[in-house]
């Protein structure tokens, strides 16, 4: 009905192929409504994280004790050399934020890759095969979702000792149930489409149905999830580092930097403030990007 479909359904006129569209126009169309400041900021963070070693103005690990607790450049007593000030050990905050960006992004990327692959495969299997396979996987998901995850992570990090690898595995394992649940739901949704039955009727193998017909249908969902979860993982890694069980010192992490400045809020607010702002801006950008992706890649819209 006209009233339920706001945009009239695309009715192809009986003409040969659609007119050629230039790459620039296609790009502009694809990016319509994109949160450009967020994309630009994420590009900046990514670039900075990649080139961190080359662009840090000071050594992020060792400080100049003579220049401890310097305020940012625009405050009285600040130094242009230490643009965002220094911490209590005289380390340059800007340099540490830059190195911290690398840590945050690596942890996020690695753990999402781990949890995403694990969850996607299990979710796909659960949705496709159903029966006891589904039952077992979903029980696992339910159990893990009802664990007090942060606390379990705390305990595990204490038990195994905190290291980068343990952190990534832990967060990855923490993430997989979300992926499994959503991928299973999406697989079940896609399986209801007639083209899956028709693929069986055409004689397609299970393998082909899984990876040619079902998996591509959930790519969009996976992209959206990964983007939104990247922000969440950065917050999570920050929390763990803030509690002192995340990335082990002296590697700078935004969370531990915030924790370091907590005691001296009154005298040196900038030690906590700037890493927090960096974190907020990064996560905010990821969330804005994820929301936009969700709106544009919404599988419902793809299928209608």
């Amino acid at each position: 009905m006209q009233t339920t479909k706001t945009a009239p359904e695309s009715t192809a006129p009986d003409l040969p192929a659609a007119p050629a569209v230039s790459l620039a126009t296609r790009l502009r169309r694809a990016l319509r409504g994109a949160p450009l400041p967020a994309v630009a900021f994420l590009a900046l963070v990514l670039g900075v994280a990649l080139l961190a070693d080359l662009i840090v103005p000071h050594d992020p690990l060792t400080g100049d004790l003579r220049a401890y607790s310097l305020p940012p450049a625009w405050k009285a007593g600040g130094s242009v050399s230490y643009f965002l000030g220094t911490d209590l050990l005289g380390r340059d905050i800007l340099s540490r934020i830059i190195m911290g960006a690398r840590i945050s992004l690596i942890v996020a990327a690695a753990s999402i890759a781990l949890g995403g692959v694990l969850g996607t495969v299990l979710g796909l299997l659960a949705g496709h095969f159903g029966g006891w396979i589904d039952e077992v996987i979903m029980r696992l998901v339910d159990t893990q979702l009802s664990l007090p995850s942060l606390l379990v992570a705390l305990v595990a990090l204490v038990v195994f000792g905190s290291s980068f690898t343990v952190l990534v595995i832990l967060i990855g394992v923490w993430l997989w149930p979300n992926y499994a649940r959503i991928v299973r739901g999406e697989t079940l949704r896609i399986r209801r489409y007639d083209y899956i039955s028709l693929a069986r009727i055409a004689g397609c193998s299970t393998w082909r149905i899984l990876f040619v017909h079902e998996l591509p249908g959930i790519y969009n969902t996976l992209i959206v999830m990964a983007t939104l979860q990247a922000g969440w993982v950065i917050l999570l890694e920050g929390s763990l580092s803030y509690l002192g069980v995340g990335v082990p010192p002296p590697t700078p992490s935004w969370g531990s930097m915030i924790a370091e400045g907590r005691g001296d809020l009154a005298s040196a607010w900038w030690i906590s403030m700037f890493p927090g702002l960096a974190m907020l801006a990064t996560v905010l950008s990821l969330n804005l990007l994820g929301d936009w992706l969700r709106r544009t890649l919404d599988p419902k819209q793809v299928n209608q």
Partner: protein, 323 residues
């Protein structure tokens, strides 16, 4: 193409049943004792209202589901005895076109890949040949070849349904299951697709199993019609005879529910009362007796047998005594 003896039906249902257990004591009897023969080159229409089991019937015919009782035979062979080659032969002999053209084409595949997929899956035809075949099929279903590189969302509903038909034809099947192939199309597009289906059958001799709810459309396409009610076939006959001389009171009811073609005919029929009972607890005896205007005492006790009547069969106690 392997030679097929003309007198062996492509598919045959022998007392086939399909029951779904919802829980221990709740069983849906979707199909109950179906006998049906699907010959190559013939069209059998199946009509009935929602819940009558016609969709389950199509799933059984396509071997997407197995019967829980009786057998479904492919060229006189039971599915259970299928070897690898038999499956390949089955998949290249029976194809389907479904109701919703939005749902039946993978939105991420181009038209050319959609049409050629059955060839990829069950033959080793080289790519060039496949694509040439796909292009010829576009001509057959009346679509411009330029559409081959399009995605489904770039086509209208009628065009998508033509793509679905082309795909079903790609492997030259013997039987095509048509599950409500036109009911989701716009009225002005329906006749295009109906004519296309009829023309293809005339030219190539495909057999059709046509599932539908609109009696006029089904009768227009089919040679024979089976009327289903709550999982059973209550009457089966040639289209002409079924329309002009319906035997079963349910068939008569369906015909009465068919609306006027012209305002002069309005209000001529008294519609059937009541609703289809839940398939979870179908009435005993003849399932239809709760709504039947001619129900007798025996109908609520004894399930009627199918007996021949004219060119067809009817399962109704009204005709029992006559033999």
């Amino acid at each position: 193409m392997s030679a097929m003896t003309a007198d062996v039906p492509v598919l045959e249902f022998r007392n086939a049943s399909k029951h779904f257990a919802l829980s221990r004591d709740r069983v849906v009897r979707a199909l109950d004792g179906i006998d049906l023969v699907l010959e190559a080159g013939q069209t059998i229409g199946v009509v009935g209202e929602s819940g009558c089991g016609k969709t389950t019937l199509s799933k059984l015919a396509l071997m997407l589901q197995r019967p829980t009782g009786g057998e479904v035979l492919f060229r006189d062979m039971e599915v259970g005895a299928f070897g690898r080659e038999d499956w390949r032969r089955f998949r290249t002999s029976v194809q389907a076109v479904f109701q919703d053209p939005w749902s039946s084409l993978n939105p991420r595949m181009r038209v050319i890949d959609i049409i050629a997929e059955p060839l990829v899956a069950s033959s080793s035809m080289p790519r060039v040949e496949r694509e040439a075949r796909a292009a010829r099929l576009m001509d057959d279903v009346g679509l411009p070849r330029a559409f081959l590189s399009r995605f489904p969302h770039e086509l209208s509903g009628g065009q998508r349904q033509r793509v679905a038909i082309a795909r079903a034809l790609s492997i030259e099947p013997r039987l095509i299951v048509l599950d409500e192939p036109v009911s989701s199309l716009d009225v002005s597009i329906r006749s295009q697709v109906i004519n296309l289906l009829k023309d293809l059958q005339e030219q190539r001799g495909y057999g059709y199993l046509l599932i539908g709810h609109d009696l006029a459309t089904v009768a227009y396409i089919s040679h024979r019609i089976a009327v289903m009610y709550l999982g059973r076939i209550v009457e089966i006959n040639t289209s002409a005879e079924l329309i002009s001389d319906p035997k079963h009171p349910y068939t008569q009811g369906l015909l009465a529910a068919h609306l006027a073609d012209h305002p002069a005919q309005r209000g001529r029929n008294v519609p059937l009362g009541g609703e289809v009972p839940s398939p979870l607890s179908p009435p005993p005896g003849c399932h239809f007796h709760t709504r039947c205007p001619k129900a007798m005492e025996i109908c609520s006790r004894v399930e009627p047998m199918s007996i021949s009547s004219g060119a067809g069969l009817v399962a109704c106690h009204l005709y029992g005594q006559a033999g």
